[in-house]
Symmetry: C2
Subunit: 156 residues, 2 copies
């Protein structure tokens, strides 16, 4: 199957989810070595979970199926350009490649906030629309000293 | 309870999770009107889920408990500055305020990739370390036309 075939599957998942009122029109497929590992559709409305975007759903399912928190060597196909949450999830999961169809601004024209959130993340914390305050407690810094010294840690 | 009290609870959650090898040293608490709605700790390792960051875990749990995908009026307390995935999740969940203790660069010094990911998200898709390719299929654009026309949609 080609990249376009996998994208068409992501689009079909998006369409079904929207028509069933499970969430917005977003779908994703995770593929490795030509094998579909997992699929996901936006299910924010059905599950009352604001993090249940198609890519996050597909990544979580792929990791659950493989029993790992890493998806090295895999590609994610998304019906739209990933929002910042999904893109960072893609980085954390160590996916190798992203293929997407509609660009962010198309989603934005339909009322989704992806481009606004990209703009916000570029700002310094104090300049963002959502107020962010730091209280630099020594106990929080100490956590990382303990992590650095921890002999049996698993980096991720 | 004060902001510092809630942060200390987030730090305690982080410490426990790290010592039990459930994940990195990260904890979070969601509070509204002085009431703790949900708590979370990083559980990437225990659950093989790369999205199981403290803030995401706490947001998902808060939403599940309240039966909503919106946390308007609530504050999230995090032992560290949220990574881009968590910050975007905070925006999607419409949390009102963020209070955090350790800054990103402290986490980075312990080997966590938060600052690198912030830098990557600032770049155009084609310039990012993870290759991103767009295939602008008309069927993907059509999804958003259908969403705009959909009479019974729930915006989120």
């Amino acid at each position: 199957m080609s990249d376009a075939d996998h994208l068409q599957r992501a689009i079909a998942l998006a369409r079904d989810s929207m028509r069933e009122n499970r969430g917005g029109p977003f779908g994703a497929v995770v593929v490795r070595d030509g094998v579909v590992i997992a699929e996901g559709a936006n299910s924010v409305l059905a599950t009352s979970d604001p993090t249940a975007h198609a890519e996050v759903v597909a990544i979580r399912d792929a990791c659950a199926r493989l029993g790992t928190f890493r998806l090295d060597g895999a590609t994610i196909y998304a019906s739209s350009e990933p929002c910042p949450m999904c893109l960072a999830a893609i980085y954390w999961s160590r996916l190798e490649r992203v293929v997407y169809a509609a660009a962010c601004d198309v989603a934005a024209s339909a009322g989704f906030d992806d481009t606004f959130f990209y703009d916000e993340l570029r700002l310094e914390p104090a300049s963002r629309r959502v107020p962010m305050r730091q209280d630099d407690l020594p106990d929080a810094r100490a956590l990382f000293e303990e992590w650095k010294r921890k002999p049996d840690k698993t980096p991720y």
